[in-house]
Amino acid sequence: MISDRVDALLRSRGEDVERAGHTGRKVVGYLPGGYVPEEMIYASGAIPLCLSHGGEAKAADQGLSILPGVICPFARAQVGEMLLDTNPFYSSLDLLVVPSTCQHMKKIGDVWEYYRGPQVFKLGVPYEHDKDFELQYFRDRLGALKERLEALTGTTITDAALTEAIAVYNRLRALFEALSLTRRSPHPPLSSLEFMRLNHASLYADPVAMADLLEAVYQGLPLREVSAPPPDAPPADVPRTPAHRQGKRPRVLLTGPNLAFGDHDVLKAVAAAGADLVVEEVFEGVRDYWHRIDATGDPLDALARGYLIDKRPAAFMRGSTRKRLEFVKQLIREFDVSGVLWYQLLCCEFYDEEAYFFERGLRPDGIPMLMVESDYHALDSGPLKTRLEAFVETLVGGPIDA
């Protein structure tokens, strides 16, 4: 069972973190969104942890003790975990790296710094990258992060170590891409819940052990699509295989700002409503796997370029809306999707703006979009169930059999 193997990996990581407290090995957390090169933390010898717990009300509500309710529940949950101090992944940190992405995430850095002092490194992420000074700025900040990690761990991060780390994480990305592409099949061999459990586990687990697990899962899938590339293949730029709508369950794409570790109710609710989520395009909480880092040349240059320019832009990047819409449309074609579920956290204002544009942008293609908002409270409630069922019915043209 995938969930058993994931649980075992996470238990093992928990033991690593606990041991680190005795051995002096450093633990470095970072916030999700895909702009912090985990390779650098890995190369320093520290344990990298992508802090991405969410989905449950307890931590988010704890955050309300110092943050107002208009801060998104995911950001509040991160602060809540800091305050609760009961999750070892959060309480064991020697350093937290906070990218300057959206205002909610930036505030986590401010608050963490205010309460925990100099345990925070703020990584400036330029919002555009078409001018030389922007890429240079990001590279300089990565250089500063490298120095900070070296000072923390006492380890010099060599080019060779960085290059090796890049290879480790490229392998991870390639495996996720291969697994993702199998879901183009008319009968996806992995459910969304299974895929996301693996993806979320990779945010905490040892990357080599995680990649081994992904490889084993891939090899063991009962049905692999013919066109799916082997795990070590370069990024896919291939035309999709013809889609075949053989089953009655409509195929849905999930998109939005955030799908946190543990925020699985929406995945279950869609499945229960009679649809298959076959691909996710989410900013925070899902490991990026569509791009690779160039393993040749200067590794710091490669990381700067790979993380700032080559990856899919998040919504906070200037001029990203149309690019993201086009990418979603590409996924819709490749994964034979008939509807889009926009899953948004309450008070995420700039994704809320985008939802308007996406809904209208998909309309000419005949792709309906449903927006669902969550504050981590009672997502399995009756109204949501009814809305999802109605959405599925519109996709299939009438009520479907249970």
Binding site: S65, I66, L67, P68, V70, I71, S100, C102, Q103, H104, K106, K107, D110, V111, E113, Y114, P118, V120, F121, K122, L123, G124, V125, P126, Y127, E128, K131, F133, Y137, R141, A315, F316, R318, G319, S320, T321, R322, L346, C347, C348, E349, F350, D352, E353, E354, A355, Y356, F357
Partner: protein, 470 residues
């Protein structure tokens, strides 16, 4: 109309010459005679029209409104629009001074002051935005970005050839301009900074300022591409020097207000000063601005000498967190009526580590323009808190009026922590009031009045300053 113009400080001859122009603008904005009567009532209710300086400020704002609406008809056919873009008014001044056929508009604050403050007709603009991608409800989109979308979608301002905004504080504003480009075909340009200052660096902001200066210089290239107008460093230095007199005049006035007891005019006027700050004035415009402010300064100085003010002497003094309300003067008016003296807001805090004196000291005009990033608004939490605590001490306030503006996540995220720190460090009460800084619909008189009564009694019972203030 003539009476309205007189109340706004237009002199007799100018009233006759300007009446058709103002009428044309009011017609376009849908302002009726009935609206005009309401505006006259509100002006006498909320503003000190016996002060010539106030009337001169009103005149400047009405003229800016007309210049904005009629910009293309006035021959300025290449139009740049900015909003939530501090410092960009300086680029606007340079453009307006050097190109007769190009114009710059930064309309929001003027429209809020006139359509909101005077006419109480601001809500339709917000509702127009809510019908598009800035829906109302729990998501709490900021009224400032709603204003931008509302004004453009209703056609109340000329459709610009380029919009500029910044991401100094939030991603909402750039996203709005991106969608304006997608929906209305208006090209968007962004000036940014990476807000990655760590508290240990405070007050040094060199890194963020350097980035912002480069970003603004790049934006000027974009303006050149779109409008064909090149803004040179020399043009900017000239504006910075002209503007220095204006900033000095504002500074003198604010200092007088902050140091006087009683406060010499009603606190609703503080919003008007903020509106003036963003007008992309020409050289002549700066002369008018300085004249209005100096006139007002002299009048307030005289009031101070005579002990005349908007509250009684010894009234509790309050610092506002987040600026005063931009579209609804009732908030400050009622506070004054209940004997609470609002003396400043935290956005007016002195920049930390910025350059003072000769504007050319910094060597690069863009560095000079983005010095506002040393100010309190965009500092990391710890830095902003330091500035607020120092302002409370220096202004000897008895309480803090924490305007809780949910639309601005960047600032509102700090409010509970700042409140705790003020209580702990200074022991003065902090009133948390949830409002929308740009939306008159947020006002609830009964609730507000009750909170103010409690707040005032807490200040009177706890203040160390009330007895010593002279």
């Amino acid at each position: 109309m003539l009476e309205f113009l007189e109340m706004c400080g237009f002199e007799e001859k100018e009233r006759r010459t300007q009446q058709p122009r103002v009428q044309e603008v009011f017609d376009r904005l849908g302002l009726s005679d009935q609206d005009l009567e309401r505006a006259k009532d509100r002006m006498t209710t909320f503003y000190d029209l016996d002060l010539l300086g106030v009337r001169k400020i009103m005149r400047i704002l009405v003229k800016d409104l007309c210049n904005t609406v009629l910009m293309r008809e006035d021959g300025r056919t290449r139009v740049v629009h900015s909003c939530m873009a501090p410092g960009m008014d300086i680029l606007g001044s340079a453009l307006m001074d050097n190109y007769d056929d190009a114009g710059w508009i930064d309309p929001n604050f003027t429209f809020m002051a006139i359509l909101g403050g005077l006419f109480d007709k601001y809500v339709p603009i917000l509702e127009a935005a809510e019908r598009q991608w800035l829906k109302s409800g729990a998501v709490a989109h900021c009224g400032m970005v709603k204003s931008r979308v509302g004004l453009i979608s209703l056609g109340l301002i000329p459709k610009p050839d380029l919009t500029i905004t910044t991401g100094f504080a939030c991603e909402t504003s750039p996203k709005v301009n991106e969608l304006l480009e997608e929906v209305y075909g208006i090209p968007a340009c962004y000036v940014d900074a990476c807000q990655d200052r760590e508290l240990w660096e405070y007050p040094d902001s060199t890194r963020v300022i350097s980035f912002a200066a480069k970003s603004m210089r790049a934006a000027v290239e974009r303006i050149h591409e779109v409008t064909g107008c090149r803004i040179t460093d020399d043009m900017l230095w000239k504006v910075l020097e002209e503007r220095k007199a204006f900033e000095d005049a504002v500074g003198r006035l604010k200092t007088l207000v902050q140091m006087s007891d009683p406060i010499p005019f009603r606190s609703a006027h503080l919003t008007l000063l903020m509106a003036l700050d963003l007008i992309p004035a020409t050289a002549d415009g700066f002369v008018e601005l300085v004249d209005a402010l100096d006139t007002l300064h002299e009048e307030l100085l005289e009031r101070t000498r005579q002990g005349i003010g908007a509250t009684s002497k010894g009234a509790p003094r309050v610092l506002g967190m987040f600026p005063h309300h931009h579209a609804d003067p009732r908030w400050e008016h009622v506070a004054n009526q209940m004997g609470v003296a609002i003396v400043a807001c935290d956005f007016e805090g002195a920049p930390q580590g910025g350059a003072a004196g000769d504007v050319r000291e910094l060597g690069d005009p863009y560095w000079a323009i983005v010095q506002h990033l040393n100010g309190p608004f965009t500092q990391p939490l710890g830095g902003r808190l330091d500035i607020i605590l120092n302002m409370c001490r220096n202004l000897r306030v008895d309480g803090v009026f924490c305007h809780y503006h949910p639309g601005c996540r960047y600032v509102v995220a700090d409010v509970m922590i700042v409140r705790e720190a003020i209580l702990k460090e200074l022991g003065i009460p902090v009133l948390m009031i949830e409002w929308e800084n740009f939306d008159p619909r947020a006002y609830n008189h009964e609730q507000y009045e009750t909170k103010l009564e409690t707040f005032k009694s807490m200040m009177e019972s706890s203040s160390p300053h009330l007895e010593t203030l002279s």
